[in-house]
Symmetry: C2
Subunit: 248 residues, 2 copies
Amino acid sequence: MPMQDMHHVHHECGDCPIRHRAVCARCEADELARLEQIKYYRSFQAGQTVIWSGDRMDFVASVVTGIATLTQTLEDGRRQMVGLLLPSDFVGRPGRATAAYDVTATTDLVMCCFRKKPFEDMMITTPHVAQRLLEMTLDELDAAREWMLLLGRKTAREKIASLLGIIARRDATLKLKAPKGAVTFDLPLTREEMADYLGLTLETVSRQMSALKRDGVILLEGKRHVTIPDFDRLMEEAGDDSDGGMLG
Amino acid sequence: MPMQDMHHVHHECGDCPIRHRAVCARCEADELARLEQIKYYRSFQAGQTVIWSGDRMDFVASVVTGIATLTQTLEDGRRQMVGLLLPSDFVGRPGRATAAYDVTATTDLVMCCFRKKPFEDMMITTPHVAQRLLEMTLDELDAAREWMLLLGRKTAREKIASLLGIIARRDATLKLKAPKGAVTFDLPLTREEMADYLGLTLETVSRQMSALKRDGVILLEGKRHVTIPDFDRLMEEAGDDSDGGMLG
DNA sequence: CGAAGGCTTTGATGTAAATCAAGATCAGGA
DNA sequence: TCCTGATCTTGATTTACATCAAAGCCTTCG
């Protein structure tokens, strides 16, 4: 089984601490498809909508490059981001005909799409696919629950610090280096998108960014470029439970 | 395959609108186990802790009767509920050694447990198990995302109305009748548990319950027994997006 | 170059929910 | 029966964040 071996070698390209998942997107995509003809690529520009909630969705997909968001909207326009899709993340649901969320490209984006019917067939005939998808979905569920704690119980400052930590970790992972000491990266989100992620207004996001800057927790160069001189300090500000796993 | 047929008959016992899932708990449990010796039942009293976050967890389980909660806690004691486990719901993660959340019985509870190692083996040898588990996990992820919208963007009054709607629907499902017109049920949660679910304080929960009562949206008999004279009215108060699926 | 339109910051003010503080209600046990 | 403690309600006050408003900063496009 050289194909199988190949697969495992690919997966050792790195493990993402944010979502606890292998991040080699191409590999993921190729593994899931197998059959060339059911898979195709689509590109989107930053800001473009991939699909609207309620639209017919005859494909499932995974992110190859770029960042996409899932958002829900109330009738009066209040918006909440409910998913942040990074390379290798999966979107769409086998066995559902319409999209449940708005999917938007926040950066230029390439997605690898699979026609739904043949993908569903493959799920049945190829057990490995369902098992892998389960693993990914469980990771997303854990991330969603962490996010719920943030939304329900953290202060604005803690929310911002948490988000910066998440982005910093993701970025460090893509560059294959641990987020210790000084970290630097570009924010992939506008202030409004950050607000939609965190359940805040864009003004509060802006104010808290300024406050963290004033207090030396972060350095800002322009509006988007962030440097974190002391990652542990940032994590303190995020107020996270740090004892998980060490008490039993 | 009479065993297989049996299974499908069982699953037609009802579909839960809250989590879009078959609710026949016994059936679920028996299907997942197959081998008698890897499965056992555990009972808990209301208020008892099933497992603490970080504890070693050498089993996975599903709820047979009663209600359990998953909660996360920050160092300073702020608590957020991140999961509400109803009969047939699954808890635990194949491939993880320790619990990620505190699991607590809010009512008297019976769980059907499976030793983890043989369960993991079964996941590999029996494709159907992984597929079923994927389906359930995707449902939970959808519920978590709905919950994120609630936590991030809804007012206290909307949060309470949403929670009452969720409980009413669950309860109606268990009784196999649609939640239209007048509905009546007992709250399975204390005010504090409701607050932990909703990201509020117990005082705010109490005040908003009183307000909904004053406005005739709900009737209260004692602290726990709730009657909803007009379910549509309650859903209006919940402020949910109602156009989902009808615009594309 | 200068106007136009996104983003972003910052300030002034308002308000929903938290916090602090009594009491009320109820169940169980002596 | 009356305590005792848990749970819940209600009131007074504070506060974190939202809202409203204005101005600053880039980019780009005429």
